[in-house]
């Protein structure tokens, strides 16, 4: 059995940054990663746009991962194990025991703190209602991304994409560059869930039709997909049957959302947030169980990897301090918000007085001309005009903790 201060489950950008955070705190840690290399999902994201905020440079996913792997290799007190699939977390008198399969062997690591950095997985075909047969040629967008970018395979020639999340948008461009024809992207909502920049550079640049308030209703094909039916939806998001039409195609990509990989901690019955499908955390990224931390995509789906690294690093530092018995606690303040906002991470802040805390949140739809305000004790303590806030972008506000009274409320004033 290995003994350490902190175990980090997952060696993606969150886990890597968390390891650097633990190192900074002066504690020791072990990363357990199920894949044969570190970097997580970044290894398959070959497009650029990573790292502008952390490195002041625009890198591709693998390059961004490379930078952090280099940092981790420089850490004196970080060890990592690859090909190690974590299947269980248990409580022990000393903290936690984390068990993983490593090829044939078993690895057990005991630590005072655990950081969940497992990322998320894609919602599978079964999570959308598609009538018809189940021919081949239906892929989740991330699976297609891996096949094309890492394995160098082709997924099909005439492609329809259902859902306009970022991975779907990015794959629309990738498929086009690899010689396939993307016939259209169909999004059931009136707006895309993807980043504005991806709509510009992945969709508009290539004249790919993006159809909003439209969905795929049925698939057709025996062995291989031969086509899909699409239809516009009404205000209740129900397809209008009379307007259904057939589109011949051989491939359907699903980009319908991501689910945090939280099952590993199910037994602890942690405070759960149905909006994020994950756990609630305090400003240390600690769940409702002390010593159990959670950050990155397993906490909430991030569109900016830079945010993931920032969260991971902070969670790592806090977990390290916790393990060393140096993490300050104080009275908890629960963050509240108006109904433009879907959730905030963290949910709780401690009244430790000094310093700053960053609060991230998402809005429920797109707004123009807004002011993002934070109010405590009836006084406005932060105010930022935001010309555009979209459902696809995470917002982050930095709060001066010395100004926090008994409560903290976020609101979005919409001027238009």
């Amino acid at each position: 059995m290995i003994k350490t201060d902190v175990v980090i489950i997952g060696g993606g950008p969150c886990g890597l940054a968390a390891a650097c955070g633990v190192e900074k705190s002066g504690a020791k840690c072990v990363i357990l990663e199920r894949d044969e290399r570190l970097g997580g999902i970044l290894n398959q994201c070959i497009h650029n746009g990573f790292g502008l905020h952390v490195f002041n440079e625009e890198l591709t996913g693998p390059e961004y991962a490379h930078r952090w792997i280099d940092k981790v290799n420089e850490c004196k007190n970080v060890k990592y194990y690859l090909n190690s699939f974590v299947y269980m977390i248990e409580c022990t008198p000393n903290g936690y025991l984390v068990s993983a399969y490593n090829d044939e062997d078993l690895i057990e690591v005991e630590a005072k703190a655990v950081i969940l950095a497992l990322g998320c997985r894609e919602k599978p075909a079964g999570s959308v209602q598609l009538l018809g047969t189940r021919p081949s040629g239906i892929f989740t967008a991330g699976c297609a991304q891996k096949l094309i970018n890492i394995e160098g395979k082709s997924v099909g020639k005439r492609v329809v994409i259902l859902g306009s999340g970022d991975i779907g948008l990015i794959m629309a461009r990738r498929l086009t560059c690899e010689g396939a024809t993307v016939l259209g992207i169909y999004e059931i909502m009136p707006q895309s869930g993807g980043l504005a920049r991806n709509i510009t550079q992945c969709v508009k640049d290539f004249n790919i039709p993006l159809n909003l308030s439209t969905t795929v209703t049925r698939v057709e094909g025996d062995k291989r997909l031969t086509g899909v039916y699409v239809a516009p939806v009404d205000q209740k998001l129900q397809p209008v049957a009379e307007l259904e039409k057939f589109i011949p195609c051989d491939t359907l990509l699903l980009s319908v959302g991501l689910l945090p990989e939280i099952e590993i901690a199910n037994d602890f019955q942690l405070e759960f947030n149905p909006t994020t499908n994950s756990y609630c955390v305090d400003e240390y990224f600690q769940t409702s169980k002390t010593g159990l931390f959670c950050a990155g995509n397993v906490l909430h789906v991030n569109d900016l990897v830079d945010n993931v690294s920032r969260e991971g690093q902070h969670a790592g530092e806090c977990a390290g301090l916790y393990a060393l018995g140096k993490l300050p606690t104080a009275e908890k303040v629960e963050i509240t918000f108006d109904d433009h906002i879907k959730y905030t991470a963290p949910k709780y802040i401690y009244k430790t007085g000094a310093g700053e805390v960053q609060v991230s949140f998402r809005v429920n739809k797109n707004y123009r001309r807004t002011i993002i305000r934070a109010i405590s004790g009836g006084v406005e303590i932060s105010r930022r005009p935001a010309p555009v806030v979209t459902a696809g972008e995470m917002q982050t506000v930095t709060i001066d903790k010395s100004k926090i009274q008994e409560d903290l409320h976020f609101e979005i004033q919409v001027l238009e």
Binding site: H47, G49, T60, N149, G152, E178, T200, D205, L304, P387
Partner: protein, 117 residues
């Protein structure tokens, strides 16, 4: 007055830019940082893009590659074709140049990952 409404693609924040030409001067609004002003001006006069793609090795491995700087958007497809038909490198490594000065743009194409298959 010429006017362009676009989205800054310099980082994932995606500021909504309005670019106008006033008395011969290009003016950008809506950017949160100076890179956005630069991008807006560029997009107005001569749009540029970074190209990323993969290069397939004959042994089944793949190389992720990117142009080290931006190239003219109008040359996007020519750049992709040139990368795909580049001579196969021996023992490619992270950071190596796959194509020097692609299409005389002054920009190199570099390897950003080597994936063993």
């Amino acid at each position: 007055m010429k006017k362009l409404e676009t989205i800054c693609i310099r980082c994932p924040i995606g500021c909504h830019l309005v670019v106008t030409e006033q008395n011969g001067e290009v003016v950008v609004t809506g950017n949160r940082c100076p890179r956005g002003a630069e991008y807006g001006k560029q997009e107005f006069t001569r749009p540029m893009r970074t190209v990323t793609t993969i290069y397939k090795m004959s042994n089944g491995d793949t190389l992720s590659v990117r142009t080290k700087g931006d190239i003219e958007k109008s040359k996007y497809w020519d750049v992709i074709k040139t990368i795909k038909s580049a001579p196969e490198p021996k023992n490619p490594q992270f950071g190596d140049v796959l194509v020097h000065n692609i299409l005389d743009s002054g920009v190199d194409v570099i390897i950003t990952a080597v994936n063993k298959n």
